[in-house]
């Protein structure tokens, strides 16, 4: 399944990297924690550092001495994770801290000496062009506080790469950060060896190393790139960027006055301090790390100015580790045009945009009155202490509308909801497979061991109600204390019982795979999962038995708690491809599998077109 030589080499490289990083990092106060961290690294080979590598053997959860509970070595230590207003930390958790040692970028480096992060720059490339892309340490100043973080080419987000559809570009990736890394070209149906998954399609790029990617763009739309190594750290610290792929059809989208490319993110800080990351594997393993500072294009306050009546096309990408957004533009009328890998069959008016991690949506909004429109994230939070819902609204930025009228006036085109016949024609040949029995079924669940008793007690009652989507982290103390040693998120093949990287699916190139995904609400901690499939495209054809009315090609599908979602995979691109949850900490806690698309149809159990 995995290339053993590559796996071993990468492990050795990771061990060396972590040894160096540990030497640069101030050790924790308690010797027990240090010993535990050392043992863990030796035993697990940097568990969770390389999700594509840490398959199977290193991640066999269950009771036993390997799992370290949260430690109480520093009972008087201040709680480093801020709690929501009105939500006390549970007495049973006070003084505990996650097992293992911690990590922040740039240990031993003076933040002041790092280059200041620059805003993203547009890079327009043509077929055959080459781009040098360097992951590096940068100094980011957020709310007046400077942090050592990461950026591509000194920019956060990384360069906005704009290419024509069907172009192929060469990207020379240089790793100049303090961890091994790769680049994954999210949503792009490219050649497998360029997919950027360590241990599966390449070896991780060592610190100081270089890797050359050949990226072909067969589909128009908005895509993004990010590392596939410890996304919970590297992506969260700034390694992400967008790609816009332009259709040769000049009428592909409706005409607009402006385009805005927004990457939605959040960052978890306590006062002036970044919350440190688990070194051996992710912490916040139950819910993923949910930030308390909202960021648009890496800044806490987004702003734009447009003329009255302007129609603006927004390319939205959720690059956060775990947060699902519900975005709107101060009541401006809005329509959704496209998503991950295609346009919708039909444009639709929408009150807001729901955007799970890694998803993209393209929406158009019209700002017809002078004044200020707030870009807001509005959700229903759950106060688990009081047992109540509460509205939570965060303003991410402002669109200021001038009195000057926009020219041309695209009001008529905006009002029109297009029918994209080309999308429906493309999908037509797949419809015959919509109603047949699933080829494969995945159940989503979780196993835990060694969590604090208070967490176990609380969850046993709290999960009597499971929200379909958890929009906020209502219990960050419990979440922080859970690590990937204690929590294993699971994709389970219903037919074989195999889990995560023990799943070894083979399907024939050119086949359609109907996959049913069931998110088990009875698990210890049910939670939504944005499931991402590399290198292919898929249709969400039904949810809970109800057929989807307006189809669009996706690479990431949100699976709410308790839901059964049917997707139809267009298995057209040969190679070994990851299927995983895109909540970074869930991925780091095991929630991934591989689907092989075999050119020769080796063992392909699914039906062809």
């Amino acid at each position: 399944m995995l290339r053993a030589a590559s796996h071993a080499a990468a492990l050795a490289m990771m061990a060396a990297a972590i040894t160096t990083a540990q030497a640069q990092t101030k050790p924790r106060a308690d010797s027990a924690a240090k010993r535990a961290a050392k043992d863990s690294v030796a035993a697990r080979g940097m568990q969770g550092m390389m999700p594509g590598m840490e398959m199977g053997p290193a991640k066999k959860p269950g009771p036993g001495p390997r799992t370290r509970p949260a430690t109480s070595a520093m009972p008087n230590m201040a709680m480093p994770v801020p709690m929501p207003a009105g939500m006390p930390m549970m007495p049973g958790l006070v003084g505990l801290r996650p097992a293992g040692s911690t990590f922040l970028p740039g240990a031993g480096v003076s933040v002041a000496t790092l280059p200041a992060a620059k805003p993203r720059q547009l890079v327009t490339l043509g077929d055959g062009d080459t781009l040098d892309l360097t992951a590096m340490l940068v100094r980011r100043t957020i709310r007046g506080r400077a942090f050592a973080m990461y950026g591509f080419n000194g920019q956060v987000p990384g360069p906005l790469i704009r290419v024509p559809q069907n172009a192929t570009i060469i990207v020379r990736f240089h790793n100049r950060i303090d961890l091994p890394s790769t680049v994954h070209w999210h949503g792009v149906r490219l050649e497998n060896r360029n997919d950027g998954v360590p241990g599966l399609t390449q070896e991780a790029v060592a610190i100081g190393g270089t890797f050359v990617y050949r990226v072909h763009f067969p589909d128009a739309g908005v895509y993004w790139y990010h590392p596939h190594v410890r996304e919970d750290i590297e992506q969260a610290m700034g390694l992400f960027g967008n790609m816009l792929v332009d259709s040769p059809d000049r009428d592909y989208y409706s005409p607009v006055n402006e385009e805005q490319v927004l990457m939605l993110d959040d960052l978890l800080v306590n006062g002036d301090t970044l919350i440190r990351f688990g070194r051996e594997g992710p912490d916040f393993a139950l819910m993923g790390r949910v930030g308390n500072v909202m960021l648009v294009n890496a800044e806490p306050r987004y702003s734009a100015r447009v003329n009255r009546g302007a129609v603006v096309r927004f390319y939205l990408t959720n690059v956060s580790s775990s947060r699902t957004f519900n975005l709107s533009f101060g009541g401006a009328p809005m329509k959704v045009v496209a998503s991950d890998v295609s346009r919708f069959e039909r444009e639709e008016r929408v009150p807001s945009v729901v955007l799970a991690p890694a998803e993209r949506y393209i929406v158009e909004a019209r700002f017809d009155k002078p004044g200020r429109y707030a870009l807001v994230n509005a959700v229903q939070a759950i106060n688990h202490f009081a047992g109540e819902f509460s509205s939570q609204l965060d303003t991410l930025g402002t669109i200021t509308v001038r009195a000057t009228p926009a020219t041309p006036d695209y009001a008529r085109q905006f009002t029109t909801l297009r029918e994209n016949a080309a999308v429906s024609r493309d999908i037509a040949s797949y419809r015959a497979s919509f109603d047949r029995a699933p080829d494969k079924t995945l159940n989503l669940t979780v196993k835990t061991t060694g969590l604090p008793l208070a967490t176990v007690q609380f969850m046993s009652i709290d999960t009597a109600y499971f929200a379909p989507v958890e929009w906020v982290d209502g219990m960050p103390d419990m979440n922080w204390l859970s690590t990937s040693e204690q929590v294993t998120w699971i994709l389970r093949d219903a037919a074989t019982g195999k889990e995560n990287m023990d799943i070894d699916w083979h399907v024939a190139q050119g086949s359609m795979v109907k996959l049913r995904i069931f998110n088990d609400p009875t698990s210890f901690h049910p939670m939504q999962h944005p499931i991402h499939l590399h290198g292919q495209r898929m249709l969400v054809i039904a949810r809970d038995g109800v057929a989807t009315k307006n189809l669009v090609w996706k690479d990431t599908a949100l699976i709410p708690v308790g839901s059964t979602v049917d997707v139809l995979i267009d298995a057209s691109n040969p190679g070994a491809w990851m299927l995983h949850c895109h909540i970074a900490e869930h991925l780091g806690a095991g929630m991934m599998a591989v689907m092989h698309v075999d050119p020769a149809g080796r063992g392909a159990p699914v039906k062809g077109r």
Partner: protein, 148 residues
């Protein structure tokens, strides 16, 4: 454990209980996300938008319980302040419209007509949204001694 095959029960089903007004009646309601290009339907304020499907059986003729001609389903906030008319209900399966509430009671009453705007008649069936399970932990030992 549950599996995808067990789709005859939904994740957000509401069991409806009968009352002395109609002791032979029974019912289930299913909350299902309204159609949305995002897979889940939510309002601009983040509240989920559910289509409500009610399956009832054993309801008598409305006139047998008084001067009534129809049964009507209502969604009611837990403080009973807000009553939202969903639609009329008969024996069998009824799709009674969509709903945007966090916690609510589901009540089916007998009414003078199917189009009444306010409830006035006796309750036939009632249930609680799954979110009603979300209760305060104020007195749980886990939080004892902690004040809000």
């Amino acid at each position: 454990m549950p599996s995808a095959a067990a789709a005859q029960t939904g994740p957000y089903d509401i069991h409806l209980l009968s009352t002395p007004s109609a002791p032979q009646s029974a019912g289930e309601a299913r909350l299902q996300f309204a159609s949305s290009p995002f897979g889940i339907a939510v309002a601009a304020d983040g509240r989920a938008i559910y289509d409500v499907r009610i399956t009832a059986s054993g309801l008598p003729s409305p006139s047998t319980v008084g001067a009534y001609s129809a049964f009507v389903a209502w969604a009611v906030t837990t403080d009973l302040k807000e009553w939202v008319r969903l639609g009329s209900v008969t024996n069998g399966t009824n799709v009674v419209g969509s709903l945007q509430m966090n916690k609510f009671l589901l009540v089916i009453t007998a009414e003078a007509s199917a189009s009444v705007a306010m409830h006035a008649g006796p309750t036939m069936l009632h249930g609680t949204s799954p979110s009603g399970w979300l209760q305060s932990f104020l007195t749980h030992p886990l939080f004892r001694g902690i004040s809000q």
